[in-house]
């Protein structure tokens, strides 16, 4: 069985290699090859899963050592895989959702002349992501970690001819690099502390190291997680990443890659458990991001950016849960999985809407689409209900557990966290209802002619089609709707399935450990409060957008709204704090380099030149002055000789 693990990574990697190096020869069949290999990987994953189910809980972990990778004295890095329950969960999520999105992309990217390349990048992503979750040591994880970053970079910037896409891609990579640096430093710390950075030895001996060291490692890991999972303060790239094709947003920036941070924290649970200070910081980051993303999501008119805010917020939930320690790890992962289903479904739905609306993304120009896109409406609606935590759907179960765990943290902290998560749930309900209403209900605003400027990020294609007048909404082709339907099933049932008999928690327990949290109030009260806050959010949104006509051009809005539209000024802050000073520094250094450092060198040369120019004037051509020099020289020579003797 172990030998199959390699295939998990191998299939998509092969696909990427063939598609990217194959050239025009594979243009015609390339996308199906991509789908096939993603599917093959899923099948392998499923086989391994079934095999794993057949074993005892303690014997489920598989390990495969391929070869020694970088051996330098005590630094021993191996290429080795570890497939335990946690990895398995991710493998199924990644390959499953990944395959669906591959299928979806066949239709979505049909008219793109670079479709082959797109599938190559998607396969590359799958390979890297699988490597990330299968690695048995932090260095190999790092490879996957940056590999998914690369795939994300390539896919965000897939439409490179758009400067905004290229800039967004670069931004994503660089912000992620900050996180990566954190991961690198964490690995250095592990190496100097334990002499190893493989999961097993480090995690099983974590408690031996001092708390200071562990806190440092934990914080560095958190930094890495912040970068990859778009948590405050490294959140700024995710919104811009929506420049990528929608399937990418669904797969990478909603379902899988962005949750890698949660994986990292959960995987490193042993370290965080022994470093309470680091845990506190994790919780704070999660809580802040939760609210941050939610607030941003409320203000965006771009459907994908609204969903991106939502993603950020939901990952905030997961990070928060992971920061709670053993009482939260399992729920973090559970929410991660359910979120993977419903958020991917939502994004695919959004993509379907855009597909039918000439790539229009401004929700204020949608409205009343439910008639035109019934399948999309239904699947999107189920995803919507799941995310707001409508009782019975998967989001309800997973989110409720996190809120309970937050209360169970205990003390003031517990109350604050509980309040924050509840508030988040309310806001989630609000903005998702807003999206739903703006898109599928109300009047058909896309029929209105608007003299005002185009929506901020209309894609070029829209202009081309736009010449024929307004859009003609229509349902998407089968290849796109089927994945949406499948994901909708996941959104509806996954949570319940996991909840039944706490099966998911028990499944993960051998890896993450589990403690039952005890909230200060009974679980039923918490659940009730959750439902109530959710309903409040929905109601508020209905009052604002359901009852009244929605203006096509966004009103100016309050200060908070305007700030939220600008992502709560994240870019302005980054610009003022980092980019501008950086630019000045760079410009200054360029000046210093040419004028001071090089100037010193050139100045030395020039000063010799000047000295030379002055000295050579002594050579004035007159014999008599030459004779004077000789006479003087003789005198000096004599005097010096005598003086030497005198001294």
């Amino acid at each position: 069985m172990e030998s199959l693990i390699g295939l998990l990574v191998g299939f998509p990697l092969l696909g990427a290699a063939v598609l990217l190096c194959g050239g025009k020869r594979v243009d015609r069949t390339g996308h199906w090859l991509g789908v096939l290999l993603a599917g093959a990987s899923f099948v392998v994953g499923a086989v391994l899963f079934l095999d794993m189910l057949g074993k005892n809980a303690d014997e489920r972990a598989l390990h495969q050592h391929l070869f020694s990778w970088v051996p330098v004295e005590s630094f021993q890095a191996d290429v080795a895989f570890q497939l335990d329950q946690l990895s398995m969960t991710f493998v199924l999520l990644i390959t499953g959702v990944g395959t669906l999105i591959h299928i979806y992309s066949v239709g979505y990217m049909e008219h793109d002349e670079r479709r082959r390349r797109f599938f190559g990048y998607l396969n590359l992503f799958l390979a890297a992501m699988l490597l990330l979750v299968l690695a048995d040591n932090y260095l190999l994880l790092y490879v996957g970690w940056e590999g998914v970053g690369l795939a994300s970079y390539l896919l965000i910037g897939f439409w490179q001819h758009k400067p905004s896409a290229a800039v967004a891609a670069k931004k994503a990579f660089i912000v992620n690099r900050v996180g990566d640096a954190g991961l690198a430093i964490a690995i250095f710390l592990m190496f100097t502390t334990f002499g190893s950075f493989a999961f097993a030895p480090v995690l099983s001996n974590a408690t031996e190291a001092g708390e200071g060291k562990l806190t440092a490692i934990g914080l560095m890991l958190l930094l890495a997680a912040c970068g990859k999972s778009a948590q405050v303060p490294l959140q700024s790239w995710l919104g811009d990443a929506m420049e990528g094709p929608t399937p990418v947003s669904a797969l990478i920036h909603a379902a899988t890659m962005v949750t890698a941070g949660v994986y990292l924290i959960t995987r490193s649970g042993a370290i965080f458990n022994a470093a309470p200070d680091a845990q506190t910081v994790v919780v704070v980051v999660g809580a802040v991001t939760l609210l941050y993303g939610a607030i941003v999501g409320c203000a965006k008119d771009d459907i994908k950016k609204a969903l991106a805010g939502s993603t950020m917020s939901q990952i905030g939930y997961m990070v928060l849960a992971a920061g709670l320690g053993p009482i939260g790890y399992a729920f973090a992962i559970m929410h991660l999985v359910t979120h993977g289903f419903f958020k991917a479904g939502l994004f695919l739905g959004a993509g379907s809407v855009m597909h039918g609306m000439n790539d229009e993304v401004d929700m204020r120009r949608y409205g009343g689409l439910r008639k035109y896109m019934p399948v999309t409406f239904v699947t999107f609606g189920l995803g919507y209900l799941a995310i707001i935590g409508f009782p019975g759907l998967s989001g309800f179960f997973s989110k409720d557990q996190i809120i309970e765990a937050a209360f169970a943290k205990g003390g003031t902290q517990g109350w604050i966290l509980g309040a924050v998560t509840l508030l988040g749930a309310a806001i989630t309900a609000y903005y998702m209802t807003r999206v739903m209403l703006l898109t599928f209900f109300g009047e058909e605003r896309w029929r209105q002619k608007t003299p005002s400027a185009d929506a901020p990020s209309a894609e070029p294609a829209a202009e081309v089609h736009g010449e024929h007048g307004g859009p003609h909404p229509h349902e998407s082709p089968r290849s796109m709707t089927i994945p949406m339907i499948v994901l909708a099933f996941g959104s509806v049932f996954a949570g319940g399935l996991f909840k039944v008999g706490d099966s998911f928690v028990h499944w993960l327990e051998p890896v993450t450990q589990f403690e039952h949290g005890h909230p200060p109030v009974s679980a039923a009260v918490v659940t009730g409060a959750t439902v109530v806050t959710m309903l409040v959010g929905v109601g508020a949104a209905w009052l604002q957008y359901g009852r009244r006509p929605v203006p096509v051009v966004a009103p100016r809005g309050s200060l908070l709204t305007r700030a939220a539209r600008r992502d709560l000024l994240q870019d302005d802050i980054n610009h003022a704090v980092l980019v501008k000073p950086g630019e000045y520094l760079t410009r200054g250094l360029v000046y210093v380099d040419s004028k001071v450092v090089d100037g010193l060198v050139n100045g030395t040369a020039a000063s010799f030149g000047g000295l030379s120019g002055r000295t050579r004037r002594l050579q004035n051509g007159f014999v008599r002055s030459y004779a004077v020099s000789m006479f003087g020289g003789a005198a000096v020579l004599v005097a010096a000789t005598l003086l030497m003797r005198a001294v």
């Binding site: 040369a605 010799f608 030149g609 000295l611 030379s612 120019g613 000295t615 050579r616 002594l618 050579q619 051509g621 014999v623 002055s625 030459y626 004779a627 020099s629 000789m630 003087g632 020289g633 003789a634 000096v636 020579l637 004599v638 010096a640 000789t641 005598l642 030497m644 003797r645």
Partner: protein
């Protein structure tokens, strides 16, 4: 006189006759190189007097070359028979020393002279006059520049074939110079090689005013410096009572205190010795072109006919350093602690000044003049080092340097425009594109000057600096290295001009030389590279030759 004492009578012709006069013993064998060269020089004068004008060139060339070759053969013979090592001796009644340094330097000088003859003999460069090919020397030196006489002489295709005997006389003097073992011979040898050089400087065919000016300057300053040298010699004589190096060394070493009361009295005053020594050394420093006695160098190098400049730059330096070494190590060894610090100062100033002033030069010949000053500084660093390694390093350096110099000046003779040689640097722009071979050859010489590995210059510099460092003169080495770095700048500048600048439309042409200059340049390149890559044999030679007879 013992005869007087025994006979007790007034000496008369008879008594002198009765006592057979002991003829001075002259070791003709050991002196043969000098004798051959001077003899051939005299022969050359005779040829000049009796041969018709049109055959003089050929005859002179053959005779001169033969003379130099046979003198070199004589040197070789002496060296092979052990006169450089086991049989080193003081000959000619103490006037000359035939030992390692002498033979090594004599051999070098003779080879330099021979190669110089090749360059002298070049007749392809100047436009052909009506009747004959002409060389770089004035048709009629006595004629007023631009006057009727010059025009006629030019038209007649005359040349100054006297340059060959003059060259030989100079070579003869130079052979004596490093061998001189007393101050008298030193002075005479100095004059013997200087006077012909003064004349040679004045003999350029083109730019005669400059040529004459250079002769005047060289002559006046040369005579001025030899007056100092002579006065210094007189003072040393006053101190020691003898001109012989060995005698001086003995007096300095207090060995002769008891000989005469007078001597004891004068020898008690070291001032005479110190002043005299300083003045003699100054006279030699003038010849090697050390700062501040260097000022003649650029002007004379620039004004003199380029073949002469090449000869002078190479051979004078060899001869003068030889003389300086012998003086310092044989005669003034006892004053080592007095002259060393002073020489330190001179060496440092010379290295730095030569390198720095050269940076802004715009004339190739002046540039090389300053470069030669800087090299004099490097050589002085070797002089200051101990005997043995120091001396042999200087010997090697001189051998290496002289061929580089000869080659470089030979190249300069080839770059010409309507006005003769185009020595202004701006005219060398793009030479590498027009004539890559020539530019490459010149680059080899420049790189050797700069001391880049794989050239003789590097090995020489290394030898000298290593000797200096071993002798405890580390600061000198550091200064030398810095000066080398500065000096590299202007060598590179010339290379940049040649290879990377666009050729000027009215730029000079590279004359196609005859086999003479070609072979001179080729010899220069070959020697430079061979000494750079396989130096061991020559280093062995130099180190065997590094011991003076006392």
């Amino acid at each position: 006189m013992s005869a007087v004492a025994t006979a007790g009578t007034v000496p008369s012709l008879w008594t002198l006759a009765a006592e057979p006069l002991e003829a001075p013993k002259i070791e003709y064998g050991q002196l043969s190189p000098v004798i051959i060269v001077l003899g051939v020089a005299v022969l050359g004068i005779l040829l000049e007097a009796f041969l018709p004008r049109r055959v003089r060139y050929g005859a002179q060339l053959v005779v001169t070359a033969l003379g130099l070759v046979s003198a070199f053969a004589a040197v070789l013979g002496l060296a092979v028979t052990g006169h450089a090592t086991t049989k080193r001796a003081v000959v000619g009644m103490g006037a000359l020393a035939v030992d390692g340094p002498t033979l090594f330097l004599q051999g070098t000088i003779l080879l330099v002279g021979l190669v110089s003859v090749f360059v002298f003999a070049e007749r392809r460069l100047e436009p052909k006059s009506q009747t004959a090919h002409v060389d770089s020397f004035a048709a009629q030196p006595a004629a007023v520049p631009g006057g009727e006489g010059e025009r006629e002489a030019n038209a007649a295709g005359w040349t100054t074939t006297e340059v060959y005997p003059l060259l030989l006389f100079a070579v003869g003097g130079m052979l004596l110079f490093p061998a001189a073992n007393d101050l008298l011979t030193l002075f005479i040898a100095l004059e013997v090689f200087s006077l012909p050089l003064y004349l040679l400087c004045a003999l350029a065919r083109r730019r005669r005013l400059l040529s004459q000016e250079s002769a005047v300057k060289y002559f006046l300053l040369g005579a001025f410096s030899s007056a100092f040298l002579l006065f210094g010699a007189a003072l040393i004589y006053g101190y020691a009572g003898t001109f012989a190096y060995s005698g001086i060394a003995r007096v300095i070493g207090n060995a002769d205190r008891q000989t005469t009361a007078v001597l004891a009295e004068t020898a008690g005053s070291d001032a005479l010795l110190l002043i005299g020594g300083a003045l003699v050394v100054m006279g030699l420093l003038f010849k090697v072109g050390a700062v501040p006695f260097h000022m003649w160098t650029p002007d004379v190098y620039q004004g003199a006919p380029t073949p002469v400049t090449g000869f002078m730059a190479a051979a004078t330096k060899v001869a003068a350093f030889g003389a300086l070494l012998r003086l310092l190590y044989v005669a003034l060894e006892g004053l080592r602690w007095d002259w060393r610090p002073v020489m330190w100062g001179v060496a440092i100033v010379t290295m730095i000044a030569g390198a720095v002033i050269a940076i802004t030069q715009t004339d190739v010949k002046r540039l090389l003049a300053y470069s030669s000053i800087a090299h004099a500084g490097f050589l002085l660093a070797g002089v200051i080092a101990t005997e043995g390694r120091g001396v042999s390093s200087v010997l090697f350096y001189l051998g290496a340097y002289s061929f580089v110099t000869l080659g470089a000046f030979a190249v300069i003779t080839l770059v010409r425009d309507a006005g003769g040689e185009a020595t202004h640097l701006s005219k060398w722009a793009g030479l590498g594109r027009r004539s890559p071979l020539l530019a490459t050859a010149f680059s080899v010489f420049l790189l050797a000057f700069a001391g880049i590995p794989a050239t003789s210059g590097f090995i020489g510099k290394f030898a000298v600096f290593a000797a200096a460092a071993e002798g405890g003169a580390t600061p000198l080495v550091v200064v030398g290295v810095i000066a080398s770095a500065i000096a590299a700048f202007f060598y590179i500048r010339v290379m940049v001009l040649m290879f990377f600048s666009e050729p000027k439309a009215d730029g000079p042409t590279v004359a196609v030389p005859s086999v003479w200059t070609t072979s001179a340049i080729a010899i220069g390149v070959v020697v430079t590279l061979v000494l750079g890559v396989f130096p061991q044999y020559f280093l062995d030679l130099a180190s065997q030759a590094g011991v003076f007879v006392r």
